[in-house]
Subunit: 161 residues, 2 copies
């Protein structure tokens, strides 16, 4: 269920909803463990070369993405809400320790709902204006976020004994 | 005690520390109840003409300040951490619902520690760069924040039977 504090504005925000056939606790683990996250977080053949997770409000969430040509793109932000197996909110608008960031872009909300043996997976990108929303859409939000969900499901299934 | 997630950077941040002779729970109430906050939050003869408080992470904290000449200055932001009688963190960098704000300026941390019948009061303004720190200092951070602590103490004492 969407937290009552989060108000989706269709003119500003982007939403991806999926039903996936892996359990909610493994999705949570895939999102909150660097060793797992690095395996699926960016569309291949891009890779994640570094990831740091300090899973508490104000704690660091950083990743470094590497293009197939070898160029690296660091991202840094912090967590805002951490409700295990339910909701994870983070932003690049604040650095660790809630410090205002030099290049704010968006806040991400991940909402997980148990659905039998599977998970209803909802990802929301919250923007401050229509320009950043448009930029995010043109960067390939829908395809990109959907592709990495597929990669995540595949990664989770590959871990099973 | 400063939360371990908050890292004060003397080059970027501004800090006010005071010992005041009013109890911690009344200071908390003064900060988190609109009717009380409006009485002391800006240096007189400025006034607060509106205040909204939704006391939870992502919840709205807004105030409208009015100059002696009658000009109004609205401020909007959201809470990030709410630990009753201990720590209150809010920012104008994110609007309610954690939406990136158009004019981010700083994150504020209020830390209260019970000290006998009184309170150790620590306010920290966290900035993203030296320019915003300097601007905040020139706006009169030290005098202003100190003046309103005096006003708050006076307001709290005036409530006593």
């Amino acid at each position: 269920m969407t937290s009552s504090v989060i108000k989706i504005d269709p003119a500003l925000d982007l939403v991806l909803e999926r039903e996936i056939d892996v359990p909610v606790d493994l999705v949570w683990k895939a999102w909150t463990t660097p060793a797992h996250l690095k395996e699926w977080f960016v569309p291949k053949p891009w890779t994640v070369t570094a990831c740091e997770i300090d899973l508490r409000p104000g704690g660091r969430f950083s990743t470094t993405m590497r293009s197939p040509e070898g160029q690296e793109f660091p991202n840094e932000g912090c967590y805002l809400e951490v409700v295990p197996n339910e909701r994870l909110v983070f932003t690049d608008t604040l650095l660790p320790g809630f410090r205002p960031a030099p290049e704010p872009f968006f806040t991400a909300v991940l909402e997980l709902t148990r659905q039998g043996e599977g998970t209803r997976y909802k990802a929301i990108a919250i923007h401050g204006n229509q320009d950043t929303r448009k930029k995010h859409e043109e960067m390939g939000f829908h395809d990109g976020w959907s592709t990495v969900v597929d990669q995540m499901v595949e990664h989770i299934k590959a871990q099973r004994p």
